[in-house]
Amino acid sequence: MPCTVLRKKRLLPIPGKVLAAMGQQVGAMDVVAQTELPGKVFSVNVANRLAVGPEEIKNFMVKNEGDAVKKGEIIAENKPFLKWFKTSIESPVEGTVESVSPVTGQVLLREPPKVLPIKSYVKGSIVEVVPEFGVTVEAEGTFIQGIFGVGGETNGEIAVAVSSPDEELTAEALSEGHRGKIVVGGKHAGLATIKRAVELGVNAIVVGGIHDRDLRQLLGYDIGVAVTGTEKIGLTLIVTEGFGMIPMAEYTFKLLSSRNGEHASVSGATQIRAGVMRPEIIVPGYPKNVSECKKDQGRGWIEPGDPIRIIREPHFGVIGTVKSLPPELTVIGSESHARVLEVSLEGGEVIVVPRANIEVLEK
């Protein structure tokens, strides 16, 4: 969408303080809400260490429930007649004594709380305040959704590094000048390219496809379920079309190219089950020659003439135009009965594809 009005909920996982007010203008890096996450808890088995019964440990505690302790500070010790037999137990962490149990003989120590800030992520204005949890930010700008990503939220200037959507993004195409930027490639980025981008300090790569084998190498494991966004691979990676070598949709490429050099917010977070979330690229502000933003106008159905992409074998990645939509169930090659559509390809050939296996492209 060249320009759309979008809303982003920015909420804390547990109650905290909202730092932005209704109607306020915020930048992508502004903190809009903040909370304190309770510190980690560590246990020390005082009864075992002092060789006393659990019910006796209160007599040996130097620090009591609620007391602050420093790392290495003595929290309990025995009082033998001979100094040689003295055992002192030091705190393994800095924090407070959470509890002293006469049943288990354990002492629980809690580290100081950690501050958790939530940033606005996109430049915009606050249109809703959820007390104690956060805000909703409304922004106007270009919004592009990918199909799969890894890595979390980041931002930077868009740098288109290829000349066409079917060009491979190579390691050689990357340079020092791409540090801190969102690099846009064409049909594919290989392992060497992604590694080079990490070395150079690129913030994100947006590309048509990647090979699953490269992703595995990059992460060190196979992604089993598509719930991503927390990976730490040195950058955010957004795939717009899928796995394999697949030219980026012409429209997406043109849109990103039209905003080349502008600042964008991106997120690789993907979740394909309940509450679907896809990776995204948001470029705030109006593109050139656009003076008004519209809400998402997705029509929600397919019509003859619509440009589509086939998203499953045997024609994966092929682009065509809807010729007709036969209403009756049709027997396809696998012998399943499915609703299909006829697709006209560029050379004039017409093929039949299950409706479940296409995606409508934006014009």
């Binding site: 547990i14 109650p15 309770p38 980690k40 808890v41 560590f42 246990s43 659990p54 959470e98 509890s99 149990s101 049943v103 288990t104 354990q106 629980l108 809690r110 199909i147 799969f148 090979h211 699953d212 084998r213 992703l215 595995r216 494991y221 196979d222 992604i223 089993g224 379920v225 598509a226 899928g242 796995f243 394999g244 993907t270 394909i272 089950r273 309940a274 509450g275 998203i311 499953r312 074998e313 045997p314 994966f316 396809i332 090659g333 696998s334 012998e335 399943s336 499915a338 594809v353 299950p354 479940a356 296996n357 995606e359």
Partner: protein
């Protein structure tokens, strides 16, 4: 209205994506499923009210049946002619189902009992905490904090035994201060079903911080498991706390004539009723896009497991990760580039609603499904075990046969019936494909009947069984089960081509078939008679359930597939040489008429 008067029943199952409604009517003495309708589930935005989807699905049933069931948003009861129904019942797995965390003192004992208890109640178990689970204390506390379950089940210790471990777990729980998944400002429901001697201490530690419910110990002694009281509490809390927080459920609860059940709990109930009514050992599986549920009843003992990340779309890539690519490739009768297969599976994961268009692509999905079914079955066998830690009395003769406690209850030779459900099994273009996928995944031995639940009606029938067992079983036999037939698989190994069994089948309709089975071959015999008598004479070294070389007579079922004689031996392994393996697969698939040539 008394149970005897039930004549028209409407039942819904609110799944994560689709809400399915079925109409059941009494025709003469028998209950039959007559009409069905479905609509998208409306738990999530923009609707955020499950009843909208329910009403839409019921409206479709109204349109198809001509029966008026709704008065606005109210279900009309009782049934009068062509208006109303006698009762409305429903199950639900929408919004992620019931998610629980369980804890027990010793992982293999109370930890495992707690896990069985929660799974049997229809929950997804997010994690099992135990004093000896290998994690450092702070890691356990961190884990409790990260997960946001709907409720927690805390057990530990036998009655009157030591309280230390369970008190320690309670203290960790208090320190973690976990929040429930729905309704951040509510207290997390915690069911305590551990050592009764610790009740006072548990109340003191968790009474303020959590919504604590104390019930009977689920492992009162090492020799006894007592899961039902805690299971009932889970169900109560599911209705009182979890459902109350889910969008639209308070309204749905007012509409139903019997308590809403979690979908897997209802499927489990139906499996149990079916097994009990026929005195069968039963295995039932529901393979979905994200998860695979396995239910079993062996020697009257019910077990359920859910493999949360083994499925055919959202989790397809995890099947590859867990099974390993070579295990998927081994079922394919053609060569495929590893990178191509990896990319295909990942593309299915990110676009889970796409369907195979070619036979080759269908075979790839069937290969993955065999591995998903196999892995979920392995997980089930590991949990469906006898109690561990039980002291066994042994005679001198037993001492030579050192069987440990905690043996799996699942014995594929004694398995009588397999029921498959879920898209890949229920909607395969050819029924032989469904039957072969289950045979390859479970490798049944001896005589095993097989069926599929074609439209996944088991949830509806499970919840209905609480009201009328007859109605549920009538529909189950007549409309729910699609009988595939019977698999005959002699256990043993021999040289390829060697005769391993003679067999003869006489159907209730008088039809008769007979033949020989040779090692390494698959034989498909179309045979539709619902009841038949089998006489099987395995050669020495092969077992059909009565011991090596012993003749077997048994009642079997024909079906839409018929008889499948599996001469590949048990344990069954595929040839290591790729070209021989592909030749074998092609030969078997051809014999079964599995795919178009």
């Amino acid at each position: 209205m008394s149970k005897k008067d039930l004549e028209v029943i409407i039942a819904t199952d609110c799944g994560s994506t689709t809400t399915k409604a079925i109409l059941i009517e009494k025709k003469g003495d028998t209950y039959r499923q007559t009409f069905r309708g479905e609509a998208p589930t409306t738990v999530e935005a923009p609707f955020e009210d499950v009843t909208k989807g329910v009403l839409n699905a019921i409206t479709e049933v109204e349109e198809l049946s001509g029966r008026r069931i709704l008065d606005g948003e109210k279900i009309l009861t009782p049934n009068e002619g062509k208006t109303g129904v006698d009762i409305y019942v429903s199950t639900s797995s929408a919004g992620g189902g019931l998610q629980m965390m369980v804890a027990g003192a010793v992982k293999a004992m109370t930890g495992e009992s707690a896990q069985r208890c929660a799974l049997g109640a229809g929950a997804i178990v997010m994690d099992v905490l135990a004093s000896n689970d290998g994690r450092a204390d702070h890691e356990k506390i961190e884990r409790i904090r990260q997960l946001r379950p709907d409720m927690m089940l805390l057990s530990g210790g036998t009655d009157g035994g030591t309280v230390t471990h369970v008190v320690e777990l309670a203290q960790f729980l208090k320190a973690a201060d976990p929040k429930p998944r729905l309704g951040a400002s509510y207290k997390l429901p915690v069911i305590y079903a551990g050592n009764n001697k610790a009740h006072g201490q548990i109340k003191e530690i968790l009474g303020d911080r959590t919504a604590l419910i104390i019930t009977e110990n689920l492992r009162p002694s090492l020799e006894r498991e007592n899961l039902m009281p805690a299971r009932h509490k889970i169900h109560d809390i599911f209705l009182e706390h979890v459902m109350q927080q889910a969008p639209g459920y308070p309204r749905l609860m007012k509409m139903v004539g019997a308590p809403i059940m979690p979908t897997p709990a209802a499927v489990g109930t139906m499996t149990e009723k079916f097994a009990k009514a026929n005195n069968f050992n039963v295995l039932a599986v529901d393979i979905g896009g994200a998860t695979t549920d396995v239910f079993s009843v062996f020697e009257g003992v019910f077990n359920r497991t859910v493999s949360a990340n083994l499925g055919m779309s959202y989790s397809i890539s995890n099947v590859m990760a867990e099974a390993g690519l070579p295990n998927i490739l081994r079922w394919l009768p053609f060569d495929i580039d590893e990178q191509d297969l990896r990319n295909r599976l990942k593309n299915k994961m990110i676009r889970p609603t796409t369907i195979p268009q070619t036979v080759e692509d269908l075979q790839v999905e069937h290969a993955v499904s065999r591995e998903a079914l196999r892995l979920a079955f392995d997980q089930h066998k590991a949990l469906a075990v006898g109690l561990k830690g039980v002291q066994q009395e042994r005679s001198i003769s037993d001492a030579f046969e050192q069987t440990a406690s905690g043996q799996s209850l699942i014995n594929v030779m004694r398995l009588d019936y397999v029921i498959g459900s879920g898209g890949i099994l229920a909607h395969s273009p050819r029924r032989t494909q469904s039957m072969m996928m289950m045979i390859d995944a479970y490798q049944p031995e001896g005589i095993t009947r097989m069926a599929v639940d074609s439209i996944f009606m088991m949830p509806h029938l499970g919840v209905l069984a609480q009201i009328s067992e007859k109605a549920a079983l009538d529909v189950f036999y007549n409309d729910c089960l699609v009988r595939l037939g019977t698999c005959l698989a002699p256990k043993g190994l021999a040289k390829e081509g060697q005769k391993i069994m003679e067999w003869e089948v006489t159907g209730s309709d008088g039809s008769r078939q007979a033949g020989e089975l040779r090692f390494g071959e698959m034989v498909h015999v179309p045979f539709g008679a619902p009841k038949a008598k089998l006489v099987a004479k395995p050669v020495k070294g092969f077992d059909m359930g009565a011991g090596s070389g012993n003749r077997v007579e048994a009642d079997i079922e024909g079906g839409v597939v018929g008889l499948v004689l599996d001469g590949r031996g048990r344990p069954f392994t595929l040839a290591k040489d790729p070209s021989k393996r592909r030749d074998d697969l092609n030969k078997w698939y051809k014999a079964m008429g599995m795919y178009p040539v």
